[in-house]
Structures are given as C-alpha cells and as structure tokens.
C-alpha cells in the first residue's frame, strides 16, 4: 500500500519512528540500536561541555549525520526563558533550526508546563525555529501550539520514561481529528504494542528513548519498534473492523455436513 510521505516543515522522512540517544549502556550499543530502528531522526540534549575531563567520547562520533537528522531538545528546562536560551544554543551548536521544545512543569511527573510551552513556542517560531513541542495529551493545548506556529504537536502517551503505554486513547483520537500539523506521540511507550497502538490511532509518528535504551536487548527492541510503527501505520490506513460484543463466524454457516 502506498502511504503519504511523513513530512515535517517540508522535510520528508521515510521512517515514522524517531529515537533518542540517552540512557544507553554504551555509544556502540546505541549506534546498533539506531541502525536496527531504521529511524532517520534522533533526539539529543544540550549540556555543558565537561571541561575537566576531555577524555570522554563524543556522542556525534556515533551518529551517522548523513543518514540521521539531529533534533536537539530543551529537556530539563523549567521556564520559557531557559528553554529559549537552550534552543538558541542548540541552533548554534547544531546544523539546523529544529528544536524539540520541552518546558517541564513538575519534577516527578515531568509533565509539561503548557502555558510556558506555548509562550516559548511563539518566541522561537518568530526567530525562525522549526518547533516540535512535547506537550500534554490535551487537544486544546495542541490546538494552541499549532496556532502558535508549531511544526508538529507531540503529545505524551504517558509520563517520560514510565513505559506505561498510551494512557488516554480518546484524547489522542481527538487530537488526531483536530491537528493540521503532524501528530507525533512522544514519551510513555514501553513495548512494541504501545507504538503500534499510537500509530493505529492515527499518529503520524512516534518518538521514544527509554523503551529501546532501557530494554534488556536494546537492538532487538529497536527492531521490534521499527516493525510496530510500520504495522500500526498500515493498520490505521487499512481501516480496522468495528468492535462487536458477540461472535461473527468466519466460515459459512450453510453446507454443514449431515445437517
């Protein structure tokens, strides 16, 4: 089946899976997992260079930047100002004006502060950034972000790193109906079926880090996620059957032997 391309801000991606670079046991394992995932976009964080110890390997040595598009994030930022400052630094350090915008509102849940997120989106869009905001699974917040100029909306499936899977299926359905920009489910995926479900609900893509990096075998999980995203997307396009309470025989009821 021929799918429509996955396009964000005019850039086309073949894979609908976006993966992170955090929490891997080693950069070598990360590189293998990236390869197995088939992803074409990876997220990275912006942090101070370690001045005292320059011996550490560089993350970028393990990312094939010809194949992978790098999406820096503003993870760890708790105010709009902090996130804007980090986004500007990311643009300077990187190769693009894309930013995965995070403005966190609470340490335990890592839920976004929507008010600050919308404010930061407005500022960064004016400065020419392609803003991909990580947001709550709230259709109104998503609509406001879109109105603020976000290039995509990225509602969470569940809290970051929780592996709980999609918690509010209905909200994601509503966001699917509302959204005129790409919808990417970001965070909360625990296993392949979670990613498949996100895609079956009509998400244009899925972004995950911990589900792969934290799996016992990250490379195998990356491969599972690749297939899950493809399967979920195809199932969405194929149009599932309606659910019904009672059985509906698959084999003919006529022509039974001896009746």
């Amino acid at each position: 089946m021929i799918d429509t391309p996955f396009v964000i801000a005019g850039r086309t991606f073949t894979s609908r899976l976006i993966v992170g670079t955090g929490k891997y046991s080693s950069y070598a394992v990360m590189a293998q997992a990236h390869e197995a995932s088939g992803a074409e976009m990876v997220t990275v964080a912006v942090r101070r260079v370690n001045i005292s110890d320059r011996s550490k390997e560089s993350l970028l040595d393990y990312i094939d930047t010809k194949r992978m598009f790098i999406l820096p994030n503003t993870a760890g930022c708790y105010t709009a100002d902090e996130a804007i400052r980090t986004a500007r630094l990311a643009r300077e350090a990187g190769l693009s004006n894309w930013i995965k915008l995070e403005v966190i509102g609470d340490e335990r849940t890592l839920f976004p502060d929507n008010e600050a997120l919308i404010e930061a989106t407005k500022v960064l869009v004016k400065e020419g950034f392609v803003v991909l905001p990580y947001t709550n699974d709230d259709p109104i917040a998503c609509r406001k972000l879109e109105d603020a100029g976000a290039a995509a909306v990225m509602p969470l499936g569940a809290p970051i790193g929780s592996g709980l899977g999609i918690q509010n299926i209905n909200n994601l359905r509503i966001i699917r109906e509302f959204a005129r920009v790409p919808l990417i489910v970001d965070a909360g995926v625990g296993t392949a079926s979670d990613a498949a479900l996100a895609m079956e609900l009509g998400a244009d893509g899925v972004l995950m880090n911990t589900a792969i990096a934290g799996a016992e075998k990250p490379v195998a999980m990356a491969q599972a996620m690749k297939h899950a995203v493809i399967a979920g997307r195809l199932a969405y396009l194929a149009g599932r059957i309606p659910k019904r309470m009672y059985a509906n025989a698959s084999s003919p009821v006529e022509g039974m032997v001896g009746r």
């Binding site: 992170g20 670079t21 955090g22 929490k23 891997y24 990360m30 997220t43 990275v44 964080a45 912006v46 942090r47 101070r48 260079v49 001045i51 320059r54 560089s58 993350l59 970028l60 790098i70 820096p72 994030n73 993870a75 400052r85 500007r88 630094l89 990311a90 643009r91 300077e92 350090a93 990187g94 970051i160 790193g161 965070a187 972004l207 995950m208 880090n209 911990t210």
Partner: protein, 66 residues
C-alpha cells in the same frame, strides 16, 4: 584574572579569545556553542571575541537525550 566557565571559577593569565580558550581546552569548535556574558557567539567570531576578567562563559555540546 578569573572567569566563570560553565559555572566554575577558571584562572587565566591574560585575556584570551574564544578560539584561543577552546584550543587550550582541546575542544573542537565545530561541535559546541558558546555563550559569552549571556550572548551567543557565532562560530566565525571565535577568533575575535576576547574574554576578559570577570566574564561568564558557557560552552555546551550535544549529549545523549530523549
């Protein structure tokens, strides 16, 4: 003279350019971003911008994240 480098105090004998400091720290300028007294310094300006006593410098790069 003393500067604040990535939140820590750092001693310098004399004013130095951003490019000079990066070379001294063995940091590849192509992979970092530099903020000097809250202003981002464009890469092409590294050889010109001079860091003086009491200045604050942030040097960031990309690390693993989600």
């Amino acid at each position: 003279m003393q500067i604040t480098l990535n939140g820590e105090r750092y001693e310098l004998d004399e004013p130095i350019t951003v490019a000079g400091l990066l070379a001294r720290l063995e940091i590849d300028p192509r992979r970092v971003a530099v903020e000097h007294n809250l202003t981002i310094i464009k890469r092409h300006a590294y050889p010109e911008v001079v860091i003086g006593d009491g200045d604050t410098l942030e040097i960031v790069n990309f690390v693993g994240g989600g």
